[in-house]
Symmetry: C2
Subunit: 640 residues, 2 copies
């Protein structure tokens, strides 16, 4: 018999404090600076300008709706709480590294209103409290009460961790206790769960911050109850006097509530709901050391990365359900690929790597970070994409604020807490997941480690890592060897490491007595790669995408003067990388002698269009749409 | 000085009576038989089952809405009148060739109710009469009063012509006189016009049937007033207390009402509205012998066929506005390409060829007839497509009836009146536009001509034409040489005609003293053609479509057992036509040794997928989706 109390099933690496990782140069410094100095303040301004914060004026009668009711019965205004919740979270991450009295005051003002508005029993949702308190908790299927409270809770935790102030955290603990008193399998409670997952992962965070089991228990209930039959949503609809068959999205797979999670065969439904939910599933696998839940996650991860993933890391091709469709349905121009979905794929990948140190997860984290998530914010830090298309004819432009502005605060909290994604630790190990200039203060068991990366990554593949230790210490340093890389080289203090013997699941395990001043050099060759799609991706037949290192490229009309759709890239033409320090903060661009088809002739003809030589420049996908409007294409037609 | 009263500007060929053309064999016989014996009766059944005819129970209080109100303020139920109007029209066309007492009784029952419901002043629209008479004529922008009356009028004319019964016609004349009394440029009248064009072309028909100038005058007013500034729709919205800026479709181009027709630069907006409108513009050019209006039509025709046309003749790629977008935006899988739009492109092309005998118009008529319009009805005659996509992964299936069932009756009236599209006449000429087995009784001036085509067209390109004449007669026989055809040959009584000397604008002009028994043989070579799209059609880069004669082909999963998206067609592979008499009533299929990509491997890879030989069968596009569900593709990827 195995001893269940001690047997470890899963490798459990802990996330590190994002604030322990300083980005004082390199690729991420300018992004983090921009988000802190431009994005966070302008987002607060938008929240004010657009009336989001007015929903907290509990003493006033509610004004006219800022957003009309949708066919689903939902108004976007219904989840305004979530937007400032996420903004507080993102702002708090910056606060922890860069104290800012004005910002704290802004957050405190929101917290004060939330506290004033909170109902006596702990319920907290501005819409219902002000507009229809009698209808609270009557429509978990379509409305977003738990979702909004989950985002407020994440904000409260981040603010507590940044400032030590408990007020917001206590408000949200009361709200969580109210939920626990209302929902559960015990007699007298409702067996409900919010349709848009979010609170589940927030509850695991709360458990980790407070150490209180009841929050983990509540999160576990919410994850495991989802999709149980008969459906709570059917029952709830009938209570409202509605026919469950009238559900606007037709299937509860929209909210991953069509079956209990362990029985769900594949990735389905609304992409952000799916990702947030899978994050919580992975968190519970971690906390309960439960390989069966991890296997469920892997089933989803295999499905997602096998046939439902854009090359940029974007996910969820369809606007109709903001989510998944059939395998290999990955249209370029109509790609929905919501910024939030890519960001939350990053969240999930990060969690998967905590329970199983495998680069197949962190490869996706890196992909979204440099491509499908980062594309969601402009270089100036105050314009956004909701959809991240892979082809445009100039109609897709970034906006200052969105009708449903979930994405701006999501990309903000991703970047402001970026450090946590670079490293995870165990008592005897540290794992390096991402490369980029930074210096991290890490605790590896009892050992304090200052790990410094010097590198021009992702523009170059050479990384120098130096270790600062107070005393020599034995631990394993895991270094990710990206899945995109062939011919990686690693040396320690000048001595080459035989990667064949130390690399497992995409990580080189360097176990030794590390000394202060030890240095590691990593060389990741970065030739320009042509990537082809699976032939079942109809949109990409005869097309090729370009990638160098972790960065996916595109061709934008601004650089070539014609619609990139006219280009034909001969298969054998060379693509030359060139660093351009003036290009939108500096980037490696790719140059090639491609061919362009003539813009003439009838719409249908017996011979394919003639082409002529055309010099092209490809730019990193995440930097597109920062200049004048025009066409863009990730998947270029190859010349026959 | 030119004498304006006698100078002829436009070549004016008159349409012929559809009933004078008998299809007793060949391609169209089975389609016409199916539509008469299956489609017309089942459509009446659907109109009953679905409550369409209940809107005429004027003595009863109106029941609950069969279709909810849309964001535009419109319910589909609002134009139910148009659906039975079109059904009566289609049914009447069959009546004229095949008298049917039961069918007449069904139509008379509808007519009786319409007459009973008609308001004293002639107004006739079931929705407003029963539900909100006080609001009639208050929202021409969004609602469909004139549109519905136009379809009823077309139905009334067809029924009058089939049976000689005037009752319905008189009802509709009263309705038209009411409109003329209400709308116009004279003082005291409203300067309105219906947003969905239709009544304009119906009024020209009414003018031709009655000879009454006032109907032509009303039609002319409605065409010329459309888009005049300041906009009537703005004024009307303000009268309703609305802000014109809230218009749900944003631009009046949606209804071709953004500018006066003569100032409109290009094809824009809702595709069916555009086509119906252009039909009326062409009709007015005809009636007024007005080359300036014809030039306007040509501007639209050039634009449409230059950069906004699917290879199938489908038009209007976008579901959002059911219409046109930017040039070369022709996605395959999301193609809207409404059946009604293709049908009405047929109507317009036919009208253009009346004012200018040019095969560039009738080539489009033929294209929609064999492809993008005919695809809208199943081989069994009782299932339909609304959208006619050019690529499917099995999700597109034909339906018995539609939420907005405008298409079934449209394709029905096209096929039931098909004869009129085959020929047009003048006093000294007859033009043969279409080929197919049929016998037509035509009046060429004073001469009675029986023209008989014997042919397996479109499956074969040989057509034998015999002429029956009571006496020898001089006239010009114009024979269309299709634009798709190279190497056409024509002989008269065995003597070859030198086409170089007689062909102009795609028609061979054979002017001679024709004798009874003269015979003509036409040989139109029909090799299988590969057609490439303009390179700016991004969806078709690296792809090829297949066409033989007028018939566009597709590959359907039902024939090849794999998704056609996996196919790669080598450029030099032969495509062999083979007639299969068992295939859905008989058709020429194409066979080839293509290649298929392996359905394996990662979603992104450094080498394009391997392919292996795969025998394929391509079928006529119009016959797809008549068997089990599966993928379909018109534009096949070529192998690099």
């Amino acid at each position: 018999m195995t001893n269940k109390t001690t047997k470890k099933h899963l490798s459990r690496f802990r996330p590190v404090d994002h604030a322990a990782v300083a980005f004082d140069g390199g690729f991420w410094k300018s992004w983090k600076d921009t988000v802190r100095t431009v994005t966070i303040p302008t987002q607060h301004k938008r929240l004010e300008e657009e009336g989001f914060l007015e929903v907290l004026d509990f003493e006033k009668p509610p004004g006219p709706l800022a957003r009309p009711i949708q066919p689903s019965g939902l108004s976007m205004q219904h989840f305004f709480d979530s937007d400032f919740g996420k903004w507080i979270e993102a702002a708090s991450y910056t606060l922890k590294q860069n104290p800012d009295g004005k910002l704290e005051t802004q957050i405190d003002a929101i917290v004060e209103k939330l506290e004033q508005g909170q109902m006596e029993d702990g319920y907290l949702h501005s819409w219902f409290i002000r507009r229809e308190p009698e209808n609270r908790w009557t429509n978990l299927r379509d409305l977003h009460e738990m979702y909004s409270m989950g985002h407020l809770l994440e904000g409260a935790i981040a603010y507590f961790e940044a400032t030590g102030k408990r007020r917001f955290l206590d408000v949200m603990i009361r709200a969580m206790d109210h939920i626990a008193a209302t929902f559960g399998r015990e007699g007298g409670k409702l067996r409900g769960y919010g349709a848009h997952a979010e609170i589940e992962l927030a509850l695991v965070k709360l458990y980790r911050v407070t150490g209180e089991d009841r929050f983990l228990k509540l999160g576990t209930y919410l994850v495991e109850e989802r999709g149980q039959q008969p459906s709570y949503y059917d029952e709830e609809a009938r209570k409202r006097g509605e026919d469950p068959a009238d559900y606007v999205y037709k299937t509860y797979a929209y909210s991953q509530a069509h079956a209990p999670v362990r029985e769900q065969p594949d990735v389905a439904g609304h992409a952000v709901r799916a990702m947030y939910f899978y994050c919580a599933v992975a968190d519970l696998a971690y906390e309960n050391d439960d390989p069966t839940l991890k296997a469920v996650c892997d089933r989803f991860f295999d499905d997602l990365t096998g046939d439902k993933l854009y090359v940029t890391g974007g996910i969820g091709p369809s606007a109709e359900n903001e989510g998944f469709t059939r395998p290999f349905d990955l249209p370029n121009e109509s790609a929905y690929a919501e910024t939030c979905a890519a960001v939350s794929l990053g969240f999930w990948s990060h969690r998967m790597a905590q329970i199983d140190l495998d680069a197949r997860y962190t490869d996706q984290l890196e992909t979204v970070l440099f491509n499908g998530a980062l594309s969601g914010i402009s270089r100036d830090g105050e314009h956004y994409f909701y959809e991240n298309v892979l082809e445009s004819h100039g109609q897709n432009r970034r906006w200052k604020w969105h009708y449903c502005p979930c994405c701006p605060t999501n990309i903000a909290r991703f970047i402001t807490s970026l450090g946590q994604y670079f490293y995870t630790v165990k008592d005897d190990a540290v794992a390096v997941h991402l490369y980029g200039e930074n210096a991290a203060d890490l605790n590896v068991g009892e050992t304090f480690l200052r790990l410094k990366q010097s590198t021009a990554y992702p523009w170059e593949g050479d990384i120098a890592i130096s270790l600062g230790l107070e005393a020599p210490s034995e631990f394993t340093l895991f270094l990710r060897v990206p899945g995109w890389c062939e011919g990686a080289e690693i040396s320690v203090n000048g001595a080459p490491v035989d990667l064949d013997t130390v690399v497992s699941k995409g990580y080189a395990a360097l176990k030794r007595h590390w000394q202060d001043g030890d240095s590691i050099r990593i060389h990741l060759p970065m030739p320009v790669e042509r990537l082809y799609a699976h032939p079942a991706v109809s949109a990409n037949a005869g097309r090729v995408s370009l990638k160098r290192g972790p960065v996916v490229y595109c061709v934008e009309e601004a650089d070539i003067g014609i619609e990139p759709q006219l280009l034909r890239l001969p298969r054998d033409v060379a693509l030359e990388p060139r660093f351009d320090g003036e290009f939108l903060g500096g980037a490696v661009l790719l140059e090639a002698n491609a061919r362009a088809a003539e813009m003439s002739g009838p719409i249908y003809r017996k011979k394919a269009a003639k082409t002529a030589e055309k010099a092209i420049t490809a730019i990193p996908y995440h930097l597109w749409a920062n200049r004048e409007a025009g066409g863009m294409q990730v998947w270029l037609a190859e010349e026959v």
